[in-house]
């Protein structure tokens, strides 16, 4: 059974957004990390990069395969989680705690297109 946290927004490609004021922390869900297996590399954008909802912003790679990261929201990257550079496996330890990028949201109405915890739970069939 995967961990799902109330109050977060979820995408169909298994990213989450945790909103704090005008900012959103974006990462992959516990369900996604479990499906991927051992994460060995996270390809992240750089601070000040623009990201767009529905567009790739990097990749999470397990031993076996690379999975594109699709940004659930648009905005500007204000921080990347550099700890993942040295220890990508942190995502396996706690995917929600170890977000990948912090985005200054340019359009908070985009959040309405995402799922809440209950809808995501149903989406992954749990």
């Amino acid at each position: 059974m995967s961990k799902i946290i109330d109050g977060l927004y979820y995408s169909e490609s298994h990213e989450f957004v945790k909103v704090e004021g005008d900012f959103g922390y974006v990462g992959i869900t516990d369900y996604a990390q479990h499906e991927l297996g051992n994460v060995v590399y996270v390809d992240m954008p750089e601070v000040d990069d623009e990201v767009e909802a529905g567009e790739d912003f990097g990749a999470v790679e397990s031993v076996k395969a690379a999975s594109d990261l699709v940004c659930p929201v648009s905005g500007t990257v204000v921080e990347v989680n550099e700890a993942l550079d040295d220890e990508p496996g942190l995502i396996n330890k706690d995917a929600f705690e170890n977000w990948i990028i912090k985005v200054e949201l340019s359009d908070k109405s985009e959040l309405e297109n995402l799922m809440d915890a209950a809808a995501y739970k149903a989406f992954i069939g749990e």
Partner: protein, 364 residues
């Protein structure tokens, strides 16, 4: 579901909760606990693989030796009964039909072990070539199950768990054993770069052995780590490092192509490539960054012009680097050559290195 075939251990993999995926026409376990844990179990202790998907072809008859030597690159006349050779079957243009093991069972009696994905193609090819020889070719792939017990503790495990004393087997030799009334084949071979054994037996015996190994707590290992293990020690996978377009000379396996023996299919092209150099070369690549090169990614020269592609790539497990094997134009094949790998939107610097990233630990 799919039309993939099941091995005799399929139900057991599912019961163990393995992640299953199609490979070579079979629904196979990719991992049980995790690729890294399973990889390390084999490098440091012992693990067991279900390799029942592999194909077995029995060639017998008055001209069996002459025939097998004609379709195989290595020189089987050098073998005694109980010996095994690795080599390739080639097309006349030198491209690879498959890589395989040949077991010498007796005089004019050979047991060929071929890749699962190639069983139909290989059997058709072998039969086609056999038309002019007095031989009998039997595809026995459905009759045999196969497990591989691999790792530094493999010999101890074979004795303690399966009651098979293998101390008399040297690397690349085998013996036939009566195992509770089943005539089985045990060889000191594998595909991990570690010491280890492969057992060919009836489905029932293989199922019993698997259960014994599980009861003894031996780590079941999936095809995921089988690939990372073989890749790190420079062993090729058919479809990646060897294909119908890649000769063994390009791939750097000229050692297994005996040009001084009688004629064999593909000899002329191999001889020419050995003498004049092959147009392409399989090389190792070490990236200067953590980005991971994957199969099919483009390899470029310093001007970002394509010069080849990645055949296999990983974030190494025993080697903590992003590493790959790539097929490149021969001009870029020298050790130390700077190249770039095109990964998603960026080009990453890499250097040509030896394609053996981790040393093998075989018992000679």
């Amino acid at each position: 579901m799919s039309e993939n075939k099941f091995t005799c251990l399929h139900d057991k993999h599912v019961a163990l909760g393995a992640l299953m995926s199609p490979f070579g026409g079979f629904d196979m376990p990719i991992q049980y606990k995790g690729i890294v844990e399973e990889h390390n179990a084999v490098r440091n202790a012992v693990g067991v693989f279900d390799v029942s998907h592999m194909g077995e072809v029995h060639v017998t008859g008055p001209e069996a030796q002459k025939f097998v030597n004609y379709i195989f690159t290595n020189d089987i006349t050098k073998m005694e009964i109980g010996d095994i050779q690795y080599g390739m079957m080639l097309y006349p243009n030198g491209g690879t039909v498959d890589d395989l093991l040949v077991y010498t069972m007796g005089e004019n009696d050979y047991f060929l072990v071929i890749n699962a994905a190639n069983i139909d193609k290989d059997v058709a090819w072998i039969n086609e070539q056999a038309a002019n020889f007095d031989v009998k070719v039997e595809n026995q792939s459905e009759s045999y199950g196969q497990i591989a017990v691999q790792g530094p503790e493999a010999e101890k495990t074979m004795k303690a768990v399966l009651n098979l004393d293998c101390t008399d087997l040297t690397f690349y030799t085998f013996k036939c054993v009566d195992y509770n009334g089943d005539n089985i084949i045990v060889s000191r071979t594998g595909y991990t770069g570690e010491d280890g054994f492969e057992v060919y037996a009836s489905h029932k015996t293989i199922q019993d052995m698997w259960d014994m190994l599980m009861d003894a707590g031996v780590q079941p290992c999936g095809l995921g780590c089988r690939d990372t293990l073989r890749f790190e020690v420079g062993l090729p996978l058919y479809g990646d490092e060897l294909t119908a377009d890649i000769t063994p000379i390009m791939a750097g396996f000229g050692f297994f192509v005996k040009l001084d023996k009688e004629d064999f299919i593909g000899k002329d092209v191999c001889a020419q490539q050995k003498a004049e150099g092959a147009p392409k070369k399989l090389v190792g690549l070490e990236l200067h960054d953590k980005a991971i090169p994957r199969h099919g990614y483009e390899v470029c020269n310093e001007n970002e012009e394509p010069v080849g592609y990645v055949t296999t790539g990983y974030r190494g497990i025993s080697v903590d680097k992003s590493i790959a094997v790539a097929l490149v134009d021969a001009a870029y094949g020298k050790l130390g050559t700077p190249l770039k790998v095109h990964i998603r939107k960026k080009f990453f610097d890499a250097t040509v290195v030896k394609k053996k990233f981790h040393d093998k630990s075989y018992k000679k």
